[in-house]
Point group: C2
Chain length 110, copies 2
């Protein structure tokens, strides 16, 4: 019951930048490194940011005025608008790497 | 077979501004008007615009490093970045209305 409440709260959280500490290896980019870093990402809902555009597009899709084969989005997406320029680290063979645009810097409902 | 091919082609189209001619009533904003206008919207795929951020976020979600209750997007969204400022029309009782940000002006994979 408690877990369900926590889950519900999390699902309702608005779009924001969040962070998690991970090793470089856990990023899944193919590097073997135990160095840790903060990975920042965008997460959450954008329900309060709907424009007339979104209401109209949803209506038109549901009324069949826009073909169901077309990929349209009638809710804003919580996405990065800027990224951390790059991250640098040593892999487990002491080789130096720089990778770009891994971590988010600012999020927005767009 | 032909219809299926057409469907597939449409599904693979990249993110772009498209338009459809509708009556104001068909916009679904609650106005009764037979005036027609061009409604412009964003539609299509953004697969080619994935950052390291998206690869990492997808990996971390699938590896269980980000909770499955969180709403995260690891593909860019095809969304308007600017809107037509406003549209004006007469309803069927000859009343004048202006509605803002109904139609998209520019789309982007964000």
């Amino acid at each position: 019951e408690k877990a369900r409440r926590r889950r519900k709260r999390r699902r309702l959280r608005p779009c924001a930048l969040r962070q998690v500490e991970v090793t470089v290896g856990e990023l899944g980019l193919g590097y073997h490194s135990d160095e840790t870093l903060l990975f920042r990402y965008c997460s959450g809902r954008c329900n309060t940011r709907r424009h007339n555009y979104d209401i109209t597009l949803e209506h038109m899709r549901k009324a069949g005025l826009i073909d169901s084969d077309e990929l349209v989005r009638y809710s804003p997406c919580c996405r990065p608008i800027t990224y951390e320029k790059d991250i640098s680290f040593l892999d487990n063979s002491s080789k130096y790497h720089t990778v770009q645009e891994v971590s988010a810097r600012e999020c927005r409902c767009t």
